[in-house]
Point group: C2
Chain length 110, copies 2
C-alpha cells in the first residue's frame, strides 16, 4: 500500500486509539462483554468519560451495546470483529510499555 | 502485571504514540536513519510540527539526533533500541488499519 494511501488510514487508526483511556477500555473488553458498572469500577475513569469513549467505539464499529430487558435493565458492551482484531495492537503496546516505559515516566497530561 | 501497575505505563505508552503524526514518523524511522529534510518531504506535516515531534521522541529516549560537521552540516535522526522495539506496535496498527479502516473514515481532526 503506497504511503499516500496508508497515511490517512494509519492516522485514522492512531487517532481512534489515541483518545485517552480508549486503549485500556479495549484492553478490558478483550476479556469479554462487560457491563458499564464493571468497566467503570475496573478503570480509573469517570462515568461521563467512559460513556463518551464507549459511544465513540460504537460509532467506529469497534464495540456494540446490547440492552437486556431484565429487571433492572442490563446493558452490556462487547467488541465487534473489528474490535477483537485490535488484540495484537493492544498486546504489542502492553508488551512495549511493560519493557520500556518506566513507572516514573510522566503520566499522561491530556 | 497487576492492572494498577499496567494502567500508568500503558497509558504513558499510548500517550506518546497518540500524538498526531508520531506513529508515522516512527514508521519512517523504522526504515533507518533519516535527515530532517527526508522526513519532511515524505510526510504531510509542517517542518515546525515535525521538529516538535522529533524533540518529543528524543526526550522519550525513542530517537537520537546526530550532527555531522560536514559542509553543509548534516543532521540525522535515528531510532534507539527503545524506538526500534516499537516495530511490532507500528506493524500491528498498520495491518489493522489496512484491513479495518475504510478510506472514507473521517481523517484525524486533532
Amino acid at each position: 500500500m503506497k504511503s499516500e494511501e496508508l497515511c490517512p488510514r494509519f492516522e485514522s487508526g492512531m487517532e481512534l486509539l489515541s483518545k485517552r483511556w480508549t486503549g485500556l477500555i479495549i484492553f478490558r473488553l478483550l476479556e469479554g462483554s462487560q457491563r458499564f458498572s464493571e468497566l467503570e469500577s475496573s478503570l480509573p475513569i469517570s462515568g461521563r468519560l467512559l460513556s463518551e469513549r464507549l459511544k465513540e467505539l460504537e460509532a467506529a464499529g469497534i464495540a456494540t451495546r446490547t440492552v437486556y430487558p431484565d429487571t433492572p435493565v442490563r446493558i452490556e458492551y462487547e467488541l465487534t470483529e473489528k474490535g477483537r482484531a485490535l488484540h495484537p495492537v493492544i498486546t504489542s503496546i502492553r508488551e512495549w510499555a511493560e519493557k520500556w516505559v518506566t513507572p516514573d515516566e510522566p503520566a499522561p497530561t491530556k
